[in-house]
């Protein structure tokens, strides 16, 4: 069975501070991993993806994620958060289908 856990339901961060969102997955084989962002009232936008190769993946909007097989993790990071980064973030794993975590809501305070 495949599953995704996002331990943090809600994170508040100050503008300009760094951000890290945690994601743990369960999948029997080498996973395909994704991070999506959903801004209020919007659909899902793909931030980045990992299929193989370099375990540090660069995405759009200044985000990056690191795949750690030993920890079954795929954490998302951004060095300096902007107010426009306030959104819902979903980690997903693709096995026989795309399965999503519960999401982490990010609030950015001025």
């Amino acid at each position: 069975a495949q599953s995704v856990t996002q331990p943090d339901i809600h994170i508040t961060v100050s503008e300009g501070a760094s951000l890290e969102l945690r994601c743990n997955y369960s999948y029997g084989a080498t996973p395909y991993l994704f991070w999506y962002v959903q801004s209020p009232g919007q659909g899902l936008q793909l931030l980045l993806k990992y299929f193989s190769g370099d375990t540090l993946v660069q995405g759009i909007k200044g985000f990056e994620a690191e795949f750690k097989r030993s920890q079954s993790s795929f954490n998302l990071r951004k060095p300096s958060v902007h107010w426009s980064d306030a959104a819902e973030y979903f980690c997903a794993v693709k096995g026989y289908k795309l399965s999503f975590g519960a999401g982490t809501t990010v609030t950015v305070r001025a």
Partner: protein, 115 residues
Amino acid sequence: SAVISQKPSRDICQRGTSLTIQCQVDSQVTMMFWYRQQPGQSLTLIATANQGSEATYESGFVIDKFPISRPNLTFSTLTVSNMSPEDSSIYLCSVLSGGRTDTQYFGPGTRLTVL
């Protein structure tokens, strides 16, 4: 990546009625997916729709409640039938695109409220 549009973007419906949601893609795609996102929840796959074949439904979803059409490689519809307030959700269309078979892109969603 593909550009995906959905109609309507939102609707308010009375219980017992049905609503058909349209999904249009700007390029031909083999696989299309329909998801439901209940308020404050994550996304749940309803069904996979391939052109020329019956849609494949996930556990907990049935064709009588969520009939799907896939008449060509750029278009699909999802109907939410005999609606109840529990059907109030965002419904999202998704496709595999960009030459990759492993990356899904999503439409903007249809926000449905059932009174």
